[in-house]
Amino acid sequence: MSSRLINWFKFSSPASFYPLARKISVVSTVIAVVLIVIGLYMSFFVAPTDYKQGEGYRIIFVHVPASWMSMFIYVVMAGWAALGLVFNTRLSAMMAQALAPTGAMFAFISLWTGSFWGKPMWGTWWVWDARITSELILLFLYLGYMALRAAIDDPRRGDRASGILLLVGVVNVPIIYYSVKWWNTLHQGSTIKMNNQTTMDETMLITMLIMTLGFWAYAIAVAMARVRTVILERERSSTWVRGLTAAEI
């Protein structure tokens, strides 16, 4: 039991996590490249043309994985924030900080590709659909988190303040989602519902899964690389950073 615990605490210190993060990052990069290349090949050359939407539907292979990732990453960030607030470990907050830009980017990609899909399908770049609206709000939550972090100079204060914000936000996300959904169904506004393809072709599903895993690996790779930078930025005056040789940095 105790060996587990010690291990845990060992890697919760930035100094010992720093080299480990590099290894994880390298491995994930390889996985991400492989999966995304396979995924792209399948998206364009294996998956059949959709009988209703023609070639346009191929957008789904980036749109849906990006949407999933954006939601998933926010929850993960909140988890790290909770850990950080409870156990007062610096590394947890750094992990949350490192994930945020990637999550925001996926939210943006989801909205962007969604728009580029909606235009040919519905004839407009934007509709106030429940899912789209709540993704937009999620993007705002990401931006709020990042803006708060950027506005606070003292990193430790920033850790704790933005941690509180993340926890408050994650409590609200489901509430927001259901309220938006309710709001939208009560107005019979948007004429076209999004999930009009109930049965999905097997290959399409597999392709989408592969792309999702690829994005997942990408997110891990980038977050680990970023957490290394964050660690350096914040611990630059500590003795262990000064002790690093040029190769280790």
């Binding site: 364009f44 043309t49 023609g54 070639e55 346009g56 191929r58 957008i59 980036v62 749109h63 990006a66 830009p101 990637t102 980017m105 943006f108 990609i109 962007w112 590709t113 580029f116 899909w117 235009k119 040919p120 990408y218 980038v222 690389a225 970023r226 290394r228 930078t229 350096l232 930025e233 630059r236 005056s237 950073v241 000064r242 040029a246 940095i249």
Partner: protein, 55 residues
């Protein structure tokens, strides 16, 4: 080939989506590299100053 890029009339939308996604996912690591390079430079400078102070 041209037909591939045409995407059955949806070329703009498909490539607009995949293109921007690719752009984002390439730009992010590049920006990150810039950020990490600048902090490394700063640490190198701190180390140099340390050495100067000692000698």
């Amino acid at each position: 080939m041209a037909e591939f890029f045409h995407m059955g009339g949806y070329g703009l939308y498909v490539w607009g989506s995949f293109g921007v996604t690719a752009l984002c996912m390439i730009a992010e690591p590049l920006l990150l590299r810039g950020r990490s390079a600048s902090i490394r430079k700063r640490i190198a400078r701190i180390a140099r100053l340390d050495q100067e102070a000692q000698s």
